[in-house]
């Protein structure tokens, strides 16, 4: 029991991200409304970003901006220890991922609007019904 709690506490970020991802995935597959699916999609992507950021976290370290860096780069002489700073790589990747997410969002919304203009509804089953009766 104790070590179970240990595990839960030690990795709770991961549990939460998995929960969020399941929520998003469920919304994308099971929801009937196109915009709801898009919301789910964004939750899904954000969950993955959360996962990456969690991988980058480091206990007892500070944000990845060098302290003595201000001023000219002669300050590079100051010796820098890796343990003092959070791992920057996941942050970089996730900046990209966020931008990709918003790009996808834009395209998805544009498509949803086109669909709405055509079928005058956002509910998938109603759209399919309209297509069938055509």
């Amino acid at each position: 029991m104790g070590d179970l709690i240990q595990i839960v506490v030690a990795k709770y970020n991961y549990w939460i991200y998995i929960t969020l991802m399941m929520i998003g995935l469920y919304a994308m597959i099971a929801k009937n409304n196109l915009v709801k699916k898009i919301v789910g999609m964004n939750i899904f992507q954000t969950a993955i970003i959360l996962f990456y950021v969690s991988t980058g976290a480091k206990r007892g370290a500070t944000i990845p901006i060098l302290e003595h860096g201000h001023g000219e780069h002669g300050a590079g002489a100051h010796v820098v220890h890796a343990v003092d700073y959070i791992n920057p790589l996941p942050h970089v990747l996730m900046l990209t991922a966020i931008v990709v997410a918003v790009a996808t969002l834009g395209v998805a919304l544009a498509l949803a609007i086109r669909v709405y203009n055509r079928y005058d509804t956002l509910e998938e089953d109603e759209i399919l019904a309209k297509i069938r009766e055509k």
């Binding site: 994308m28 899904f44 993955i48 990709v100 498509l111 669909v115 079928y119």
Partner: protein, 498 residues
């Protein structure tokens, strides 16, 4: 300059895509020449790159001058050298062929369409060339987004089916990203070769297994591997002909390439074939994919949609071949990437010629079409023979390798599936041929007796010439299969696989 081929290959299309979209606001007629020039350069440098690889083996190009794994690097070996050449050449031919149909179908949106087209090609080339797992994801998204935009420009239910494609595509890409994340957290690296070097100590770890499965599923969604294929047929069918004739041949094949790259380079064959015992189930899945694709294709009364289902079946070929786990199967899969790209291009160019001249491409619309467009139909026959797998067209030889791989792996179900789909293809295409050749074009023509009444109205030359080039390519590739296999694919497969 040849040192910079890997960069040129991707950068020239990117820059020119931007220039096109800007130039579109000044003068629409500038766009097409720029696009042709860009893709021409890309094709030239990809072929040059392939030749260099053949001479001096794998090439590493350090982007930003940083050594991998710090920076991002391009690894170009025989495998992606070949695929790069195919992708760029196919895109180039299709661009020339599609000019007229683009102008017909999207009169006021030509400029952004060309820009998206070139962006798509950029993304595909980048995916194939890159040696960095995360970079691959970004390029995947470029390809996906431009593809959605192009496909959604089609007629009736194009937008809806593209939206579904978008959902599925995003799921696939995100799964891939997640898998890369899992790899990153256990290895701490993103560079494929670097990961491959670190992994052997971690083969037992559940995280690596999870990463592998997630990546695989993501890629499968992207390549429409049964049962994740549901999005493909509608999306490809309703898109504009220019878009579908670019995306249908290339995107699925490039995703197959990604899968093979994951197997061969990232998670070494040792891990994929020996440590995990999942190759048999996957081959079974591939068999089901082939069967289902063939059967669903039989049910179609619409040429283009029938072809999309054939693509689903072909994906089954390649996945199964890659997962047979022996040299012959892998050779067949890689060879089939080349052949299937050409075959699909041929078939879809035929469809776009038909769409350019006729109102539709359902079976009822193409009755007796041969009198109207004989040359197009001739090309269709060649493409059909190749898809069926009749020697000496190239389709036969890749099927040859796949089947002998199946025999060596004693996966007879896969062999049966391949033969079955060949038979079904015979039925499919001879049905089409019968309709095109023997049905009276108009109902008054009494069973085509007497002189043909229909005046010939063939597609313009700019659409025919590329089609003929592709059709001839089908036969040439078939004849030179030996060289392709012995000079390129032999070296693309690591010695570990026997």
């Amino acid at each position: 300059m040849s040192q910079q081929y890997p960069a040129l290959l991707v950068i020239v299309p990117l820059l020119s895509a931007l220039v096109i979209s800007a130039a579109g606001w000044i003068n629409k007629r500038l766009c097409f020449p720029i696009a042709v020039a860009a893709l021409g350069v890309a094709a030239y440098s990809s072929i040059g790159l392939l030749l260099r690889v053949l001479d001096e083996g794998a090439i590493v190009y350090r982007l930003g001058g940083w050594d991998p794994p710090m920076g991002i690097a391009y690894y170009v070996d025989h495998l992606n050298g070949l695929v790069l050449a195919v992708v760029s050449v196919v895109a180039f031919l299709n661009l020339i062929a599609s000019k007229k149909s683009i102008e017909l179908e999207l009169p006021d949106k030509t400029a952004p369409f060309y820009a998206l087209y070139v962006l798509q090609v950029t993304g595909l080339l980048g995916i194939v060339a890159t040696g960095d797992a995360f970079n691959l994801y970004v390029l995947l998204e470029i390809t996906a987004l431009s593809g959605y935009a192009m496909l959604a420009m089609g007629k009736d239910r194009a937008q809806l089916s593209t939206l579904n494609y978008l959902y599925m595509g995003t799921i696939g890409a995100c799964f891939y990203l997640l898998g890369v994340g899992y790899l990153y957290i256990v290895t701490g690296s993103l560079n494929m070769v670097d990961i491959a070097n670190i992994l052997p100590s971690l083969y037992e770890s559940k995280a690596v297994l999870g990463a592998f499965i997630i990546c695989l599923v993501g890629v499968w969604v992207k390549m429409a591997f049964f049962p994740l294929h549901a999005w493909l047929p509608n999306a490809y069918t309703h898109g504009p002909s220019a878009a579908s004739s670019l995306i249908a041949p290339l995107v699925t094949k490039v995703m197959i390439y990604v899968m093979i790259r994951l197997i061969l380079t990232v998670f070494t064959p040792e891990f994929a074939f020996n440590i995990l015992a999942i190759s048999k189930p996957i081959v079974w899945l591939a068999c089901i994919a082939i069967f289902m694709g063939a059967i669903l294709a039989l049910a179609e009364r619409n040429l283009k949609k029938m072809l999309t289902y054939i693509i689903v079946a072909e994906v089954g070929y390649m996945v199964g071949g890659a997962w047979l786990g022996n040299r012959a199967g892998m050779t067949g899969a890689i060879l089939h990437i080349v052949n299937d790209a050409l075959m699909t291009l041929c078939a879809f160019l035929v469809v776009s010629n038909i769409a350019y001249k006729l109102k539709g491409y359902a079976f009822d619309d193409i009755k007796g079409l041969v009198r109207k467009m004989p040359f197009t139909m001739g090309a269709l026959v060649i493409g059909a023979l190749s898809i069926i797998g009749v020697p000496p067209t190239c389709g036969f030889f890749s099927k040859w390798y796949l089947i002998s791989g199946a025999i060596q792996a004693s996966q007879y179900a896969f062999m049966v599936a391949l033969l079955f789909s060949s038979l079904v293809n015979v039925v499919l295409f001879f049905r089409v041929i019968e309709i095109c050749y023997y049905e009276p074009f108009s109902d008054d023509g009494a069973h085509g007796h007497g002189p043909p009444s229909e005046p010939m109205a063939e597609a313009p030359l700019t659409m025919l010439v590329p089609l003929f080039i592709v059709a001839a390519g089908l036969v040439l590739v078939g004849i030179y299969t030996g060289d392709i296999v012995n000079k390129i694919i032999e070296f693309a497969i690591p010695q570990g696989i026997v």
